[in-house]
Symmetry: C2
């Protein structure tokens, strides 16, 4: 699939019906790296009924036991860290649910969710991963998903704003700094990683209110202030909105506020997720590089295949 088609495919992922059957566990741990782990991190920001912990490493927490729901997500089904974490969780007797499009992972698990194999970049499968979680734990409904589909389709048709932002960042060689706040803390992190992987530039993310305890002084007084491009994922929570505006004023910085569109949380989440797809796609295009290329990630995987943890 061409990378642009891959981006447009996000809305189709919302239709996926796969879900976890046994969700009634005391503790939930999700293992996943990159795009899969990010789905877990975004979900953690919006689901707090039970302790939900994301593992982005080989090792699992000591508390994983028979009373733990352990969700292993890997689009390829061959992510080394996720495989190691899953094997450890199985030994502890956790209820293991694997989510993959194939690979070794797909033949393990007390429950196995198979997502369609379309050779997407793993980061492009975030829609599948997040929707499985949101459906399984009742955070989204068919009506929400229908609205989200049309919000994404509209962005696929018209994303000139994203192209303009891409050109603005590039022409001034800006380093993107993305600030989120509830419920979009980890969506800000998704933005960082899309800048890294698609546009191949360094970026970083942080969140309100925590950043007011450290970043604030730096925004105001750092050297090279003009080299940074500040983005705020605007929140529907008034306390976050006010903080963001006061921070811009106090630190004398220009913040780009990105307003999420849509009638419900599902739509707004996916709108923000998709928005940076286009910014980073246009950046790669303007830089003359392939947004899909991640050959160094592959090189590192190969170089570490004999590592024992």
């Amino acid at each position: 699939m061409d990378f642009l088609d891959e981006l447009k495919f996000l809305k189709e992922e919302l239709k996926f019906k796969g879900r976890i059957k046994s969700t009634n566990y005391e503790k939930i741990v999700l293992a996943g790296m990159g795009g899969s782990g990010i789905a877990g991190k975004i979900f953690q920001d919006i689901y707090t009924k039970r302790p939900f912990c994301v593992v982005d490493d080989y090792r699992i927490p000591d508390f994983v036991d028979r009373n733990t729901l352990f969700i292993s997500m890997s689009y390829s089904g061959n992510t080394a860290e996720t495989m190691a974490a899953t094997a450890a969780a199985m030994k502890r007797g956790a209820h293991v649910v694997t989510v993959s499009s194939g690979g070794k992972l797909s033949s393990y698990g007390d429950e196995r969710i198979h997502i369609p194999r379309r050779d997407l970049q793993p980061r492009s499968a975030i829609g599948y991963m997040l929707i499985i979680l949101m459906r399984s734990f009742g955070i989204t409904a068919d009506r929400d998903l229908k609205d989200a589909y049309s919000v994404l389709a509209k962005l696929d048709e018209n994303n000139r704003e994203c192209q303009k932002l891409a050109h603005d960042i590039l022409s001034k060689k800006k380093i993107p700094v993305i600030y989120g706040g509830a419920p979009y803390k980890s969506v800000a992190y998704r933005w960082k990683t899309q800048f890294n992987e698609n546009a191949k530039i360094i970026a970083y993310s942080s969140s309100f209110p925590e950043l007011n305890h450290n970043d604030t002084m730096a925004i105001a007084l750092t050297y090279g202030k003009k080299n940074f491009g500040f983005f705020v994922l605007d929140s529907e929570f008034d306390y976050i909105r006010k903080r963001a505006r006061l921070t811009a004023k106090v630190a004398k910085a220009e913040f780009n506020f990105i307003k999420p569109q849509g009638k419900n949380l599902t739509s707004r989440l996916f709108y923000l997720i998709h928005y940076v797809d286009y910014i980073t796609y246009y950046m790669a295009k303007e830089r003359g590089i392939n947004p899909a290329d991640v050959h160094l990630v592959e090189e590192i995987k190969k170089g570490l295949k004999d590592v024992v943890v």
Copy 2:
């Protein structure tokens, strides 16, 4: 206290004997912002026997209930986010332990740990906060703390290396990028915040192995590559050490490896925490700014005092 004396005071904090008495709860939630929250985040990386969740916001997770140990940390005892989170936890019937040097927080809680009032910057009280947690949950022993004390004392006497690094960063106007890995993931975040607050420059942190799924391409191909100063907090885990070295090679980047000193985890953790105290202190000195000054953080607090969450 002069800021340099404040930094040197870190080793004295290790002697604090305060501890949480009732630790036997199913779930643990720690509320804290800035330096207090960071103590919780660092602790979360090394204690995984039970679900341990850090809240750096006003709102608390829905799962907080009578079976939850809720630890509220605020050096001043007046942090708005922590106060709101604590009030909510009390309503839910959680076992609340407050840790403060005074303020409103000190008169709440089923258990109250009072730390000495010395008018430190809240970020300089990280020793108290972390040692309370490590002692309470049996992660450190008197012998470890004795070694840690002497490791810190040595760094107080000789920190020319830190001064050299400070000068190197400043003279090239570099943006620090700090990479951690187990067990120092959140120590890397502490580094970021000390660069922000003491040196007043923008910095960012990330951790292995997750960063190999996104940062890697960016390190190799970003524009302005020479503007970044990469630091790696070296791990005692071989799988992290190998990754870090392979990443430097594959992405063709110069990484500064910081080797933790000390015979045990407590010493090494505090060595790494203290090391950046000196880097950022010397940076502030060379920039001619006051490392203790955080007047914009105060301005934001004042501007938001009527905000309802």
